[in-house]
């Protein structure tokens, strides 16, 4: 459980981070709760760790009708943020609160998790359902990628090796909206066997995203009933939970997330 030899640099500015990331074998270290375990198992063996933990990339703020979540915001920051205590944004803290345990939530970061893109991680479903965009930066400049275009497959995203996630930007849902996150978790890892995030808006429109059941988290089409959409989705099965079970339970958590989001919307 000792990582292979690795060099380490702590970036004190974004520029320093970008410089270091010119090494193609470099890896970005934020909270370390996904990267360090795989390094200790020597599954990952980067030549260089670029610690971005001291950069000013944290925080939760409302700005010009948008919610901006810093990439270095920890799960616990999200659980405690006053800005998120609205029915429309309730899914964020609800989801953050069921990730890992207290120690993990104190260290694990939003940006780190999204960049890692474990197909069973929780928060991708929420950022998808809430229509988030990711602001990515590199020495070349800045670009914005919609969450729906960000997740490309298991542990695979649109992020380039020399890029950092800076912020996750969400449009504020209209007053009278409600959101929720519901999962059935693996009893050991706590990761989602099936997780669903839902946003209900006052005009009756709804957005649903699911995680844990396939190669990557994904939005369910607005034009199809959730059950029908899930029936056509490509779903993973494994020894613990079959494809059939995951497909069924995904339907259950989708329904429960919708019900809870609707209750929250009504409760305004």
């Amino acid at each position: 459980m000792i990582p292979a030899q690795v060099a380490y640099v702590r970036a004190s500015t974004l520029e320093e981070a970008f410089d270091a990331l010119s090494d193609p074998d470099a890896k970005v270290l934020a909270g370390g709760h996904s990267l360090l375990p795989v390094m200790k198992l020597r599954i990952a063996r980067p030549s260089l760790l670029v610690d971005i933990g001291r950069l000013e990339l944290g925080g939760v703020r409302l700005d010009d009708g948008k919610l901006r979540l810093g990439a270095l915001a920890t799960w616990d920051d999200l659980v405690r943020a006053d800005e998120l205590e609205t029915p429309a944004l309730a899914a964020i803290a609800e989801c953050a609160g069921v990730i890992g345990d207290l120690q993990v939530r104190n260290r694990g970061t939003l940006g780190g998790s999204l960049a890692h893109a474990d197909p069973a991680s929780d928060m991708p479903a929420v950022v998808l359902a809430l229509g988030a965009a990711l602001e990515l930066r590199s020495s070349e400049g800045e670009r914005t990628v919609a969450a729906a275009d960000f997740f490309r497959g298991p542990f695979t995203t649109a992020l380039h090796a020399d890029e950092l996630i800076a912020e996750i930007v969400l449009p504020l849902p209209p007053h009278g909206s409600g959101s929720a996150y519901v999962k059935v978790e693996h009893p050991a890892s706590g990761f989602a066997l099936a997780g669903a995030a839902a946003l209900m808006q006052p005009d009756g429109s709804r957005t649903i995203a699911v995680t844990g059941i396939g190669a990557q988290p994904f939005l369910l089409s607005n034009n199809t009933e959730p059950g029908a959409a899930l029936a056509e989705a490509e779903i993973y099965g494994d020894r613990f939970a079959s494809e059939e079970y995951r497909r069924h339970v995904a339907g259950v958590v989708v329904r429960r997330a919708l019900e809870r989001a609707a209750e929250r919307a009504k409760g305004v």
């Binding site: 292979a4 050991a188 613990f240 259950v252």
Partner: protein, 763 residues
Amino acid sequence: MQAVTEYSVIGVARPRVDAPDKVTGATRYAADGYVHGLLHARPVLSTEAHARILSVEREAALAVSGVVAVLIAGDLPIAAAGNDRTVEPLAREEVVFAGQPVAIVVAESEAAAEDGAELVLVEYERLEPVVDVERAMRPGEALARLVDDAESGGDLESIHAGVDRGEDAEDEEELSGNVLDTVHRNSGDAVAAFEASDAIVSGTFRTPWIYQAYIEPQVATAWLEPNETLVVSTSTQGSFVTQRELARAFDLPLERIRIVAEPLGGAFGGKFALVEPLAAGAALVLRRPVRLVLTRGEDFQATNPASAQVSELRIGAHKDGTLTAISGRMIVDRGSNAGWGVEGISSLLVAGPYRWEAHDIRGYGVQTNRFTFGAYRGPGAPAAAFALETLLDELAAELGLDPVELRLRNAVVEGDVGVSGNPFPTMGAVEVLQRVQEHALWQTRDSLPDDEGVGVALGYWPGGNEPAAAVCRINQDGTMTIITSAVDMSGVNTGFAAIAAEAFGLSPEQVRVVSADTATGPYSGASGGSKVTYTVGKAVLRAAEAAREKLLAAASEELEIAPDDLEVVDGVVRAVGAHDRSISVEEISRLALRFGGRYEPIEGHGGSAQTVGAPSAAAHLVHVRVDRETGEVELLGYVMAQDVGRALNPALVEGQMRGGVAQGIGWALLEELAHDEDGQLLTGSFMDYAIPLAERVPDIDTLIVEVPAPDGPYGAKGIGEAPVIAGPPAIANAIAAAVGLRLRELPMTPPRVWAALNDGSDT
């Protein structure tokens, strides 16, 4: 069950003696000790479940800076034949499970050892892996081990099962060579008894391999003293058994081996001389201190979890609920363990603490290419109880009887002859059933909401025996030191302090308990089999009594009062009825422990050789809610009544009860070491292998029932194993009460519960 008032220490809840050091981090565990010139070892584990080793490439590893040696089986000074882990700590020509140590890399630092281990290249010729235990039994099936060094034999079986292991089966069935052992327990005419039954139920039950999941992984440090004494500082349940095992492995005289059992970071049956031969072997070869600390991943793969079992069982009863006959087959997957298995004890315990007119039970110990079987809290018992207690519930339903009533009608009392052929000693099976019967949760079980239910089950552990000794020493300051060689597991030292304080007349705060090593301590057996308090505790009682006699003799001279007219209260010897005529223990001790002193040191030696066991029974009540949509089972309430003989320290007794319940929940709902068809472990980390976290364990209502053990110290008996045993069937019966589903395979995970609910039939 009455509160006992004649004692001042016994029966009073007190903190554990080891608690302050443990909660403040002051305890030094086996991996913590500083040893000059220490080398660190890293094992290379087999990536194949069954293969021949063609070559081990060591050069690349040896080229790593800091690597001192790469050792394979032939390099170790093993002097005995056999295929058990003691004498084959590294695989010789054949590997028989994925995770078996094949080599160890020894280096100046942990990092160098790990770098080196990565570079050791082992070339294998794959052999057919044997992973299906039932198939493995059939004649003509592939063998899980081709190279058999026959004479295996250690001392590891006797530790756990304080019972006979049954007769070898005389009528030969056609079985493959993978069946290493058969047991047949047969009495009465089972066929006729079934024919005369009004109801018969049967089923095949499956339980998986289960990991002990101690917090502290396996660890040992070994070195040679200048006088050639091999010293092993280790996390073990038994120092003397480890000494004997190492003597056998390396053909060393016992007096040249000293085992120091360090404070234990959890064991649950799994820590018996498993890694010590590796560390000791390397130290003997390299003549430098070697420490081996398994990583969690290595500990999952390379150690000795509880056997998977298949239990085929059939039971019958008359209309009035009187049990008639029991027959069945207990198929035990030993993995690579050629030395012993739980088929003997499991085929005994499957009959439960009940009276039967006839029984016909067979046990099979079968080798496969999975792990090496080892003991885990109540070895062989949870699987047996899962089968029996589930079927008893079904039998009660069939007969229209209350499940507790059915059990009460048949529960053994002292003198009833069990399947072992021996009469049951005093035990509280009836009493614990009565306690749960009158509990509000049982009384209100019919008025629960939909999808909720309450289940009941009874389990027992026969309890073990082994002669043991202890020393009691009064120090110059009037405090007491109790010395045993028992490893302080599950709070036994705190129990010793209470026993000695009560017997002598001190407050327990003035008693220190020392767990000595094999060179210095009196003999105690291993900490296991629920026997330590019962046997070593009895020795402690006698040692304290012997010291008290010395004390009274000295006090008698000082006070000029006959010993019989003296009493010892809170560290003061005084005349009965004339309390002003007194002398403190401290004063007497000062008179004795000095140059020119007049009295023998106030010390006592005590021993015990218990021959009658002290079985402990535990009845569980569980309240569950089943989510029909997801298959998730939520535990809403838990009640357990256990016969503990006498609660020396109720706080510790309740701790054992709660811990047992939690581990039973793990068996029932969460835990499974699963392999794929090639014998590769699929659940080799805590990300895949679920154990009960605090948030999954409900409030537990612990009901202490006291049916004193006639030979136990103050009536106490061993209580560690009984509370885990009947948890799984109690939960299964609660699920049946909630949604009418009878599950026959553990763990009862959400996907399995959901699948079974949707089959509409039993699995």
